[in-house]
C-alpha cells in the first residue's frame, strides 16, 4: 500500500523521473547519529545529481544496529532498490551479541567514510584536559561514566582501549549505552554522564558553539585543533568506518548497478561538501574488495573485544 501510494504520488508530481530508481534506505540507528547523517547526506547527494528519483528512509535503532540489520536481512530479500547503512559498530555488535544475523547475509556495496572518535565533556565539567579525565579514571574507574553508542560498538571499544593503555582494567569501565545521538547529546550537555564518546561529526556543532569541550580524538595527529590521544601520551588510534549494503540475494549485475550508483554519488560536489563539513575521511572501497575488507575487520574487531574482556 505504502509503495503504491508513493508510486502514484511520484508519478503525479514527477512524471519525468520515471527512469530513475526510487531507493528504500534502512538506517539501523535512531535519527541524529552518524549512520543517520551518512545515509541522509548520501541520499541528498544522489538526489542532487538526479541519480535517484526519491529515497525513503526507515530508522530502526538500537543494539549496535543489529535490530535494523535483522529487519533488513529479512524484509528486503532480493529487492535491488533496497540499501542499508552500516559499519564498524555493527561488526562489534554482532560479535558481542553472538547475533544470529550477520553481515555475510547482506550484499556489501561500498565502504564510504572513516571517522575519528572524539572524547567530550560538558562545558561546565571540572575535567579541563584529557589528563584530568585519565586521573579521575585511575583514581576510581567506576566513578567515570562514559556515554556512547551501543554496547560493544566503536565508542565502547575506544574507552576500553584507553583504559588498557593507562593501566586500568577495561572490565571496570563504567559504560552507559544510548540509542543514537538524540538521547546521548542531552545526557552529556546536562552532565548526566562524565564524558561522551562519539564520532567527530556527531558533536561538531556542539563543540563549535562552546556547549561541549573536546578533550581528545582518536586520529594519529591533531584534527580541527583537537589534540590526538597519541599526542597526549595515550597510545591508542581508532577509526570508525561506515559503508552501505544491498539486500540479500540480489544478482551480481544488480549489485554492480548499486556500486556504480554509490560511486557516482560520492563524486558529487554535494557529497564532497558533506565530508568537509563533518570531518569524514573518504575511503571508498567497492564490491568484492569491500567484502574482503569486512571479513578481515570482523576477525580484527572480534579479537579486540575479546582481549578487552568486555564480552559477557
Amino acid at each position: 500500500m505504502a509503495r503504491l501510494i508513493q508510486f502514484l504520488t511520484v508519478l503525479l508530481f514527477a512524471g519525468t523521473a520515471a527512469a530513475q530508481p526510487s531507493l528504500k534506505m534502512m538506517i539501523p540507528a535512531n535519527p541524529g547519529g552518524g549512520w543517520d547523517q551518512t545515509g541522509r547526506n548520501l541520499a541528498a547527494a544522489m538526489q542532487s545529481a538526479k541519480l535517484v528519483s526519491s529515497v525513503q528512509f526507515d530508522n530502526k535503532g538500537g543494539a549496535a544496529g543489529t535490530i535494523g540489520l535483522a529487519q533488513f536481512a529479512n524484509s528486503a530479500k532480493g529487492d535491488p532498490n533496497a540499501v542499508m547503512i552500516g559499519g564498524m559498530v555493527m561488526v562489534g555488535g554482532i560479535h558481542l551479541q553472538k547475533s544470529p544475523v550477520n553481515l555475510s547475509m547482506v550484499t556489501p556495496i561500498a565502504r564510504l567514510t572513516s571517522e575519528w572518535e572524539v572524547i567530550v565533556v560538558a562545558a561546565s565539567s571540572p575535567h579541563k584536559t584529557m589528563a584530568d579525565l585519565v586521573k579521575a579514571l585511575k583514581d576510581n574507574p567506576g566513578k567515570v561514566s562514559w556515554g556512547g553508542g551501543s554496547a560493544g560498538g566503536t565508542d565502547h571499544i575506544l574507552v576500553g582501549l584507553i583504559a588498557r593503555a593507562v593501566g586500568v582494567d577495561p572490565a571496570k569501565v563504567n559504560y552507559v549505552a544510548f540509542k543514537g545521538g538524540g538521547e546521548q547529546v542531552p545526557a552529556v550537555l546536562g552532565g548526566h554522564v562524565t564524558a561522551g564518546v562519539a564520532g567527530l561529526g556527531e558533536f561538531a556543532e556542539q563543540v563549535k558553539s562552546g556547549k561541549m569541550r573536546a578533550l581528545a580524538q582518536s586520529g594519529p595527529t591533531k584534527v580541527d585543533a583537537i589534540p590526538s590521544l597519541k599526542e597526549q601520551g595515550i597510545a591508542v588510534e581508532l577509526g570508525n568506518w561506515r559503508g552501505i549494503f544491498g539486500a540479500p540475494g540480489i544478482s551480481p549485475p544488480q549489485r554492480d548497478a548499486l556500486v556504480k550508483l554509490v560511486k557516482d554519488a560520492t563524486e558529487t560536489p554535494a557529497w564532497k561538501a558533506t565530508l568537509a563539513k563533518l570531518g569524514w575521511t573518504p575511503v571508498f572501497l567497492g564490491g568484492e574488495d569491500y567484502k574482503k575488507f569486512i571479513d578481515e575487520d570482523t576477525k580484527r574487531i572480534g579479537a579486540i573485544i575479546d582481549s578487552l574482556g568486555i564480552k559477557k
Binding site: F13, N74, A151, N174, G182, E183, P186, E205, S209
Partner: protein, 496 residues
C-alpha cells in the same frame, strides 16, 4: 524579543502568499487521506509524502510539509475514533473514549473536539515555543536517567485510572504488556530476550501491532462471534454532528490541561507523546463531573489527549531548534527536510538560519489553521463510514487493520502477531479484561527499564540517586501525593 516577533512576522508574511497556501491545502488533503489508513501514523505519512516537496522552493515545501503533517495527525485521529485502530502510539489514549463516542452516535463531536483541541493546543504551544524555547531547554537538560525514571513511575501510577472495575483483571492486563515489552534485544547489554530465535522478534513487538490487534481485530472477532446479542452497539448518528454548547463547555478545560501536559513532555529529550496523552486521559477521568460516563464515550477523554498529543509534537521543536537534536521520528524527518536546503542542525540553528526556522514555525501554525478550515466540513462525510452495515463495516476494519500492520515493516511476522493479539483481544473482551493496560505496559515498561538501569549504572548501583536529586525526588513526592491524596480525602470526608 521584538526581534523574535519580527522574524515570526516575516515568516507569516511569506507563508501566507496564495500559492503557498495552495500547497498547504494540497498537503493537508494528501496527509489526511494517507493518514486515515490504520497503522500509518504521521511520521510514516510524512516520510512517504516528503519526496513531493523536493520540487518546490523552501517556503512552499515547508508549508506543504506542515500541511501533510497536520493532515496526517488528523487522519490518524479519524481512524482511531471511527474504527478503533490507532495509527501510532500517541493516539492510543484517544481510542479509549473516542471510539465509544462514535458508537454512541457522537462521532461528529468527537472528531470536532479533536480537530479544534489540536488547533488550540498547537496555538498555545507555538506561542510558548516562540517565547520560551531557550529557557525551556535549560530545564530539559536537567532531566537525566534518574529523573526520567521518576517520570515513568509517575506515569505508572496514573494507570489505575484505566485498570477498569476489577483491579486484578487490570493488573493482569498490565503485566501481559510488561512481559511483551521485554521481548527483543536489550540495548544495555545487546543480549536477546524472549526472541525464541525468531529474528523478527529481535526488533521487539511494535506497539501499533499490539494496539490494532487488541482494539480493532479483537473487537471485530467479538462482534462476529456475538453479533446476535449485540443489537444495540452501533447507534445511528444522533443529534448534530457539530459540537453542542455543552460539548464546548466540557472540552475547553481538557484542551488547556492537555496542552499543559503535552508541551513540557515534548520539550524534554526522552519525553515523547505517550505519557502526556495517558496522563491527560487519567486527569480528565479524575476531574470529570460525570466520571461514570468514562468508558461510555466522554468527550473530555478525547479533548484532553488530542490536545496533549499536538502540544507534545510542537514541544519536540524545542530540542530540535535549540540543540539541533531530533527527539521523535517526525522531528527527524523534519530535519531531513531542512537539510535539503543546506541547513545544518545544531545549537547555532536559530542564529544562523533564523529565516527558515521562523518560516517553519509560521508554516506549522498555518498548516494547523488550514486543517481546521478543510476538515471541519469533511467531518460530515467521515461519520457516514459508520452508517455502513455492521458486517461490511467490520470486514472493512479487518482489511484495513491487516493492510496497516503489514505496511509497518512489510513483514509477515507482523501479520501473525497481529492476529495472535486479535485472538488475545477477543478472549480479553470475552472475559472482561481491559485491553488498554496491556498497551500501556508495552509502551512504558521498556522505557522505564532502560532509564532505571542507566541511572544505576551511572551511580554504580547506588539507589540514592532517585531521592537525592531534587527533580527526581520532587516527582516521586508528587507520585506519593497522587497515590495517597484520594484515600486521605475519603477518610476525611467520612470523619465529617
Amino acid at each position: 524579543m521584538l526581534e523574535t516577533l519580527g522574524a515570526l512576522g516575516t515568516g507569516f508574511e511569506v507563508a501566507l502568499k496564495p500559492l503557498n497556501l495552495l500547497w498547504g491545502f494540497i498537503g493537508v488533503t494528501l496527509g489526511t487521506f494517507v493518514g486515515v489508513l490504520p497503522g500509518v501514523g504521521p511520521a510514516l505519512t510524512v516520510a512517504m509524502l516528503l519526496p513531493l516537496t523536493v520540487k518546490l522552493d523552501p517556503t512552499g515545501a515547508l508549508i506543504m510539509f506542515a500541511g501533510i503533517y497536520y493532515g496526517a495527525m488528523f487522519g490518524g485521529s479519524t481512524t482511531t475514533i471511527l474504527l478503533n485502530a490507532p495509527g501510532e502510539s500517541a493516539s492510543i489514549a484517544t481510542a479509549l473514549e473516542g471510539n465509544k463516542m462514535a458508537k454512541a452516535g457522537r462521532a461528529g463531536p468527537a472528531l470536532a473536539t479533536s480537530a479544534i483541541g489540536s488547533f488550540v493546543a498547537g496555538t498555545i504551544a507555538t506561542v510558548l515555543l516562540t517565547l520560551l524555547a531557550p529557557l525551556v531547554v535549560d530545564v530539559a537538560l536537567r532531566f537525566g536517567p534518574a529523573e526520567y525514571f521518576a517520570l515513568m513511575v509517575f506515569a505508572f501510577t496514573t494507570i489505575s485510572a484505566v485498570l477498569g472495575a476489577s483491579t486484578v483483571r487490570g493488573l493482569t492486563s498490565l503485566f501481559v504488556g510488561l512481559l511483551l515489552g521485554l521481548a527483543g534485544i536489550d540495548s544495555q547489554t545487546g543480549q536477546a530476550r524472549f526472541a525464541f530465535g525468531v529474528p523478527e522478534l529481535l526488533d521487539g513487538i511494535d506497539v501499533v501491532v499490539l494496539a490494532v490487534g487488541l482494539f480493532a481485530v479483537g473487537e471485530a472477532l467479538y462482534v462476529g462471534a456475538y453479533q446476535s446479542r449485540l443489537m444495540e452497539t452501533l447507534e445511528k448518528i444522533s443529534g448534530s454532528i457539530w459540537m453542542s454548547k455543552e460539548d464546548w463547555r466540557r472540552s475547553w478545560k481538557p484542551w488547556l490541561r492537555g496542552t499543559a501536559f503535552g508541551f513540557p513532555f515534548g520539550s524534554i529529550p526522552a519525553g515523547g507523546a505517550e505519557i502526556p496523552t495517558f496522563l491527560s486521559y487519567a486527569t480528565e477521568r479524575k476531574l470529570a463531573p460525570h466520571p461514570e460516563e468514562f468508558g461510555k464515550g466522554a468527550i473530555e477523554g478525547v479533548a484532553g489527549p488530542e490536545a496533549a498529543n499536538n502540544a507534545s509534537a510542537t514541544g519536540t521543536l524545542v530540542p530540535l531548534l535549540t540543540l539541533g537534536i531530533p527527539t521523535s521520528a517526525t522531528a527527524a524527518i523534519l530535519l531531513s527536510a531542512f537539510q535539503n536546503y543546506g541547513l545544518q542542525p545544531g545549537p547555532l540553528l536559530f542564529q544562523s538560519q533564523s529565516d527558515l526556522v521562523w518560516g517553519l514555525i509560521a508554516s506549522l501554525y498555518i498548516g494547523n489553521v488550514i486543517l481546521l478550515v478543510l476538515n471541519l466540513p469533511l467531518i460530515g462525510i467521515w461519520v457516514k463510514v459508520l452508517a455502513i452495515p455492521k458486517p461490511q463495516l467490520y470486514a472493512g476494519i479487518l482489511v484495513f487493520a491487516t493492510l496497516g500492520a503489514y505496511s509497518l515493516h512489510q513483514s509477515w511476522v507482523d501479520l501473525l502477531t497481529l492476529y495472535v493479539f486479535g485472538l488475545l483481544g477477543f478472549a480479553m473482551r470475552r472475559w472482561d479484561v481491559p485491553v488498554a493496560p496491556a498497551v500501556i505496559g508495552l509502551i512504558l515498561g521498556p522505557l522505564a527499564e532502560t532509564q532505571f538501569r542507566r541511572a544505576l549504572a551511572i551511580s554504580q548501583g547506588d539507589a540514592s540517586v532517585f531521592y537525592t536529586q531534587p527533580i527526581a525526588a520532587s516527582v516521586f513526592a508528587l507520585t506519593a501525593i497522587v497515590l495517597i491524596a484520594p484515600w486521605l480525602a475519603r477518610r476525611l470526608r467520612r470523619k465529617r
